[in-house]
Symmetry: C2
Subunit: 331 residues, 2 copies
């Protein structure tokens, strides 16, 4: 029965949204992308979400009547209980958007609403790097650091929709770096792609022209985390130091989660994992410095497997698991 | 039916163990204490645990046949799945002690085994500061910092029995303080009673004789966290600074949990809360500096209510909730 289930997952981002029909085992049967165009307003946004869902159903050669449920993931801020997006920095000028109720009413289908990083974590748990585990923590390493925590088939949403905001754990209080969130000392301020670039420019300013990065070809005029990690791989000492420190910060974040959640697996996803296996090796090497011996030895650490599809697959997965538990009425 | 339930809770510490019969609403019907004497060996320890359970039943004027289940809490290290204490630093020289199976066999009753800090968290959740909440994080502030996390009637045990080891979250990596655990930068190394004393002696060494603490009467020849907090309450500037920094470190720890677990309530327990309401006020004042606005505004922060009884009440509570779910066979 499970495999014959058909669920639509939708993952809304600031630039584009992805939707697909997913079967009961987490396999996508279609995969469509539409521009989000948040600047055109939230009515337009809701209409585009519905269009993406219809397109995903059609692309899988199905009818709406074939679909058992819908899962929708968006960036925050949000209220997961009521299914509202509140004031999303990446979807300006949207404000108080009743996403879940709107989509549920349009399709008359059980509809689940989830944070995009939580949905991606659920995707990896259900059909990606975490298949078979009971508990998983995902760090998504992009411009910022997002995350999600899955325990026994459920997203740890938290009491105020802030569960799994693990990029904003503080790892420093003494001369802490400023984070994009306005606070200081967050993991994101040390180990996101943006932080890697910032730390590199600071190091270059103090480096007296030795590093190859001074003359590295710049895409769009600026160094990127990718450039820096490439220079590290080619033996540039300054880039290598930035790379290794980044791995240390990520090991620190992973270790903190080992001492709070103690999951079976910690997964790193997002654009920065393009750095490849060496990043994972370095993170693993730093973990025993900071974590207790048992979780340091036994917690699996790996890269995400679903890439940009994790969000819509996971959104569908959240709907599936709530359907299974009978917690997904139409009311 | 619930209220008429009778469960024995046992909380084993390095110096003494407490046991009591607890009713289905979390009210203790008896409360007995025996010395643990770990140095006499683990066979002696297991026999004392059984004696404490029998005494608790007799003190409540009940028979073993009146008891529905037993909950036992001990300090770690431990394996919660198998019910073994492994190599507990506070119960030397015990090693690989099959606590759960031994007690289950002696009493032929469903028996639950739990970490002592997790059990205390469950006690506060069930019958203490957290009555009525769905999720709770407890920090126990003693010589070290322990903790426990409760989500929807369940202890977050973690995959390797390390869930809720929140005293060992790292909050610093740059010149980090050494922790009793052998690692560096743990919350415990900044905000435990021992850390408060250490930070104070360091500050006094650099203070040129101004602080009253130089001549403060010392119990057992050493300042205690209590002395330092009393001096702060009496206006000593150095003590006040240590006190306020301690509140900041605790706010940082609380904030990190708001961004990972996002619980309904964060509870502080243990000897250090004798500092009183002022400590709580200071923690609350620092939280908005480090936490996101929504959890900073909405997460309740309070002191524990059950004192030293939290462990045995919580151990009994863990047994009760597993009984309710039918997860507590004799096999």
């Amino acid at each position: 029965m499970d495999k014959s289930l058909r669920i639509v997952g939708l993952d809304v981002g600031g630039t584009s949204m992805k939707a697909g029909v997913v079967d009961g085992s987490g396999r996508p049967l279609s995969n469509v992308t539409l521009p989000t165009e948040p600047e055109l307003g939230q009515e337009h946004g809701l209409a585009t979400m519905c269009a993406a869902i219809r397109k995903a159903i059609a692309a899988a050669k199905l009818q709406p009547a074939d679909i058992a449920a819908i899962g929708v993931a968006t960036p925050g801020t949000m209220d997961l209980r009521t299914g509202y997006i509140l004031d999303p920095p990446n979807l300006k000028p949207w404000h108080n958007v009743p996403v879940r109720d709107h989509i549920r009413a349009q399709f008359a289908l059980p509809t689940v609403f989830q944070n995009d990083a939580n949905a991606a974590a659920f995707g990896e748990y259900w059909a990606g790097a975490g298949v078979g585990v009971r508990s998983l923590v995902l760090f998504t390493l992009g411009t910022g650091i997002g995350g999600g925590i899955i325990l026994d088939d459920r997203v740890l949403e938290g009491e105020h929709s802030h569960g799994g905001e693990i990029g904003h754990m503080k790892i420093a209080f003494d001369s802490p770096r400023e984070c994009g969130c306005g606070k200081f000392g967050c993991l994101e301020a040390y180990a996101s792609a943006q932080a890697v670039v910032k730390r590199t420019y600071e190091a270059l300013a103090a480096d007296a022209g030795v590093s190859k990065l001074h003359t590295w070809p710049r895409t769009d005029g600026e160094l990127s985390a990718r450039d820096i990690f490439e220079a590290a791989a080619k033996g540039d000492a300054l880039a290598e130091r930035i790379f290794d420190e980044t791995a240390f910060f990520l090991a620190l974040g992973a270790s903190n989660l080992m001492h709070v959640i103690d999951p079976e697996i910690i997964v790193f996803g997002g654009g920065m994992i393009a750095a490849g296996e060496l990043l994972l090796q370095r993170i693993r090497r730093h973990v025993p410095r900071v974590a207790f011996p048992v979780p340091a030895a036994l917690t699996r650490i790996s890269f995400a497997k679903l890439g940009n599809d994790a969000g819509f697959i996971g959104a569908a997965g959240c709907a599936k698991f709530l359907l299974k538990k009978g917690n997904l009425g139409l009311s």
